[in-house]
Structures are given as structure tokens and as C-alpha cells.
């Protein structure tokens, strides 16, 4: 088991390394390829109307004229050991894990990430609880009553659900549920620690909107998995030896058909923790996704790079956790 964990851990570290290198290459290599000069690059880091001295200092500081490998090395080093930025005017300290410093907002990227993360976390956790409960139970019921009116209606709604963009359902519910009918308070974020009730009531709408999409996907996946499991030989065996249908379903079918969902769930959660961009934009929530978007719109490259690397980190960690859980749930995985 320890060898298994170590192997997976090694793979995850390697993956973070690859993804961050590729991201870095795209942000620093691609503009070069397209003819962006080192001055332009420095300008992208510098923020609005920088002094020529500051520009030169940034160019020197980030070493835009050095080979990409050296620049990437500096980035990794800063992330591990921290860094100090000398703009010529002042010295700015950026303690590890330093993912860069935004000269536009005069904040370290890590601080901004830490500030914004609770919003994304609240959004995703609330939605995940809803979509797991609703999606999986509808999927199981649909599979058990295959071909029934319930099944057909549920699957039609699920197909519509995966075809509806989240910003459409989100804006629609904002326009009608909040604005026209006043059924729910306007969407906002307030700290859970301050007032849990206010926290929940102002996030219900984004939760439901996000959960609707994922519940639709999970219902389809669960139904397909259940149907496949129910036609397995061991289900027939379980029935043949006289087990009550309830036991066959709960003890034999459910477990086997829900484990593959674990992978999907891990991936989805990892992706969303890194920033539920569409939902955040729709409801004007200032989470990680909005941070990345703000970075892109304001061409604040350090923020963009930092958010993308963090987002991939979440995916890798979520995958690692799922892999390890799989080792617990399914002993075959440990020994492969």
C-alpha cells in the first residue's frame, strides 16, 4: 500500500511539473513566437503607465531576455523559496509559496488567491452536495424503472440540462426568481463564519444553477452505469441464490456502479475548485475564476499564470485523492 501511495504521489508531482512547464511555455514562449518584444512583456507585468526605470527593472528582474528554461527555473524557485521584487523604487517581499507579484494591484498573487478561494469553495461545495444527492438518486431510480414514464421524463430533462449553458440558466433565474418575483435575495458572498444563514441564502441560486447542470450529467452517468451493472452475471447469481431485490441493488449493484463515478466526481471537483469561471461571472461572485478573468481582461500576466497553475494543482490533487481512495475501495488497483 505504501509503494502504491508513493508511486501515485510521484506521478502527481511529475504532472504538476509538466502542466506548470507547459503553462509557462505558453505564456512566455508563445508571445515570443508571435513577435512580442521583451519590452512588451515587461509592460504586461508592469501595470498601468509604469516609469521607464520600473520597466527596465522588471525586464531585468524577470530576465525576459534569458532562455525560457532559466525563466521557468526562476519561477519554480520563487514558488518554493519565496522571492523579493526590486522595482527600483521599493523592495517588495513575496514569501513562499510565491506565485508572482501583480504590479497592477500591488498584491502578491498568492494573497489574492487566498482571498478569493473561500468564495469558490463555498460555491462548489454547496452545489456538489445538491448535485450528488439529486443526480445519483435520479440516475438509480431511472435505471431501476427503465422505460417507465419517470425514466423517460427524467432523461429528457437531463439531456436538456446538459444542453443548457449555465450562464443562460443563471441569468434566467436572476432575471425572474430574484428580480421579477423576488423569491430569493440577490446573490452575494458573505463569510460563513459571520452568519451561516446569510451565507447560505445568498448562495442558494448559484448552487442550484450549478447543481442542475452537474445533476443532469450525473443522472445520465449513473443510469448508464447502473444498467450495465444490472446486466452483469454476478447480479444474476445474486438473484438466483434468492437474495431479496433490495439487497441485490444496495449491496451488489450500487457499489459497483458508483465507483466509476468517483473518478468523474474527483475530476469535476478539482476543475471547479480551480475556478467556476462561468458561474462566478454570471452571478458576479469574486472567486478564483473571476480572478483569472480579471487578470486576462487587465492583461495582468502574473495573476493569469498564478491562477492557471493553481487550477491545475487542484485537478492534480483531486485526482491523487481519487486514486488513493480507489486503492481503498477497489483492491485490484493497488496491485496493478
Amino acid at each position: 500500500m505504501i509503494a502504491f501511495i508513493l508511486r501515485r504521489l510521484g506521478g502527481a508531482v511529475l504532472l504538476v511539473f509538466i502542466i506548470s512547464a507547459v503553462t509557462f511555455l505558453i505564456f512566455f514562449g508563445l508571445p515570443k513566437l508571435a513577435g512580442t518584444t521583451t519590452d512588451d512583456m515587461a509592460a504586461r507585468f508592469a501595470g498601468k503607465s509604469p516609469t521607464p526605470e520600473a520597466l527596465a527593472a522588471i525586464k531585468e528582474r524577470f530576465g525576459f531576455d534569458q532562455p525560457l528554461a532559466v525563466q521557468y527555473g526562476n519561477f519554480v524557485k520563487a514558488a518554493v523559496t519565496g522571492d523579493t521584487y526590486d522595482t527600483g523604487v521599493e523592495k517588495i517581499d513575496c514569501p513562499a509559496p510565491c506565485l508572482g507579484y501583480s504590479f497592477r494591484t500591488n498584491q502578491s498573487v498568492t494573497d489574492q488567491l487566498v482571498d478569493r478561494f473561500p468564495i469558490t469553495l463555498s460555491l462548489v461545495v454547496g452545489a456538489a452536495v445538491i448535485w450528488l444527492l439529486v443526480g445519483v438518486s435520479i440516475g438509480v431510480l431511472s435505471a431501476l424503472r427503465r422505460g417507465s414514464l419517470f425514466d423517460r421524463a427524467a432523461m429528457m430533462i437531463a439531456l436538456a440540462g446538459v444542453s443548457l449553458p449555465i450562464y443562460f440558466t443563471g441569468l434566467l433565474s436572476l432575471a425572474f426568481v430574484v428580480h421579477q418575483w423576488g423569491l430569493l435575495p440577490p446573490v452575494s458572498y458573505s463569510s460563513f463564519a459571520d452568519n451561516p444563514f446569510k451565507w447560505a441564502s445568498a448562495l442558494i441560486l448559484p448552487w442550484i444553477t450549478l447543481a442542475f447542470l452537474y445533476a443532469a450529467m450525473y443522472a445520465r452517468l449513473t443510469r448508464a452505469g447502473m444498467l450495465e451493472t444490472m446486466s452483469e452475471d454476478y447480479i444474476r447469481t445474486a438473484r438466483a441464490k434468492g437474495l431479496p431485490e433490495r439487497t441485490v441493488i444496495t449491496k451488489h449493484a450500487l457499489r459497483a456502479s458508483l465507483t466509476p463515478l468517483l473518478t468523474v466526481f474527483g475530476l469535476d471537483i478539482g476543475l471547479l475548485f480551480g475556478g467556476a469561471v462561468l458561474t462566478e461571472r454570471t452571478f458576479s461572485l469574486k472567486g478564483l475564476g473571476s480572478l483569472a478573468l480579471d487578470g486576462v481582461v487587465g492583461s495582468d500576466l502574473p495573476v493569469v499564470l498564478g491562477t492557471v497553475v493553481t487550477a491545475s494543482l487542484f485537478v492534480v490533487v483531486a485526482n491523487l485523492i481519487v486514486d488513493l481512495l480507489y486503492g481503498v475501495v477497489d483492491p485490484r488497483v493497488r496491485h496493478s
Binding site: L159, V162, S163, L164, Y167, F168, A175, L301, S312
Partner: protein, 333 residues
Amino acid sequence: MTAPIEVTGSETQAQPDAVLEGIEGKAIQGRSLGQIAWLRLKRDKVALAGGIIVILLILMAIFAPLVVKLLGHPPNEFHQDLIDPTLGGPTSSLGGMNGDFLLGLEPGNGRDLFSRIVYGARVSLLVGFMATLVAVVIGTVLGVVAGYFGGWVDWVIARLMDIFLAFPLLMFSIAVVGVLPDKWLGLEGNGLRMAILIFIIGFFSWPYIGRIVRGQTISLREREFVDAARSMGARSPYILFREILPNLVAPILVYSTLLIPTNILFEAALSFLGVGISPPTPAWGSMLTDAIRTYQIAPYFVVIPGMAIFITVMAFNLFGDGLRDALDPRSNR
């Protein structure tokens, strides 16, 4: 080409449909996969409806200038005389919907929503189709290579697909689109934007096709007809192109039909986030961005572009599901 996706027995074996008709007294006749699929698809009314909507949408996009000339106003023509200057919404009820403006007026500038929807279909469908084409080309080549050659080649490509599938796609795409310059490779403006969108979306969605092609190739590689070709001295290129690839046409067709709506949603999402097609070119996603500012005065402005995306994506999904059921004899029907 006569072999179905999954050749379950020898090719002369009767297909279930043929058996049924044989009972009714007709002679058993051989049918190609295409004929069988068409027979099944004809019976699937929901899928057919999806297919018809898809065809209508494509025609609408191709003949957008003609449609707009007949039924609407130029997409970038302002009609501010019909807009209430204080509220920003249309002066008439129903969002300004009438015989002249079929889908009403955009709040603020008062542009004709109908023609903006019609022209927006061009962006969505073009990006959706071309990006899927990119994905199919990359996915098929890498999938076949991985599945056929196996070994370390397979290992590398399979890991590559894992990495791509576990990538924070949307975050990454907005970032990439954001750092790219305005002029590149002789293209500029929306031409460049469109090319970038097609490339990025295609580049990130190839693993969906690649995984399926790889799996199919692995199972086809071990089939008797491939062994037979090899024992007669056929080389790898011949086996790949003449023995394996024809059998991959059906799954590739099905999964690319199902990838198109995903890619349309992807394009709409990028346009919604402001990193897609830039105004004033109409795109459904960016119309919804404008709706964030105006939903309080003009809720219909959310509904119209949203429904356009929904109907398009749903139609493709219904048709794709139907096509899969028709072409895959094993699928649950």
C-alpha cells in the same frame, strides 16, 4: 464497406432486421451498415427531428445574408428611435417583438435581435464544426497510432490524453486567448480570433475522439481479418488505412456528432467570458454577456440568445444520440 462497428461474427451472418423481414416472407438480403443505420434512424422520430433542426440551422447560417434581407434589418443597424431613452428597453411591449422585428430589439442600441441571432449562428456553427474537425484529425491519428503500435508509443499518447482530459480547460483557454497578440500569421481581428478559437477548442477536445479510436483500434488489431491481411504480407500502412480505418468510420462519425454541441457550448462560453469573437460581430455567447447588464430591464434579452444556444445544442445531442443507437448494435435501446 460492410463491416459494422463491432463485427460480432463473420460478415455473412444475417443482421437482426434482415431476419425479421425474412420471417415476413421476403428474401433475406445483405445490407450495408449505412443502410441498416438509416433504417433504424428513420424509426427514431426524436433523432430525426434533431437532424432536421440541425439542417435548418446550417442552411440558416449559410444563407444568413439572404434570410436577414428578407425577414430582418442589418445586424449592426441601430434603431434607437424605438428604444426608451430613460430605461434603455424597447418602447413597445414584448421586447419590441412584431412583424418587423421578429425577435424584438436589443436593449440600448436597438439592433434587430432576429438578424443578430441568424448571423450569430454562423460563428457558433463554423467554430463548432471546424474545431471538431481539428479534434477528429488529431484524435484519429494519435488514437490509431497508439492503439495499433502499442508499447511505449501507446503509453505516451495515453498519458497525454489523461493530462489533457484533466486540464482546467476553460481557465487555460481564456488565459491563452488573452495573451495572444492581435495580429499573427497574416490574420487579424475576428479572422484571427476565429482561427484561434477553432484551434484551441479542437486542440483540447481531441482526447475525447482519441480515447474511443484507441480503444476500437486495440480491439480491431486482434481481429482475424487483420491477421489474415498481415499473413498475406500486408504492411502496416496498408493495414491501418485499408483494414482498420474503414471500421473506425462509424464510431468517429457518432462521437464527432456528439462533440460538435460540446464545442459549440465551449465557443459560446468563451464569447460569454469576453475572450471569444469581439463585437460588433454578433455571437450568441457575447449577447448573453450584454444581458448581464440589462436583465433587470429586459429579461427577454436573456431568453433569446440562450434559447438559440439551447435549441442548437439539444438538436445536435438528440441527433447524435440517435445516430449512436442506429450505428451501434450493442447500445441499449
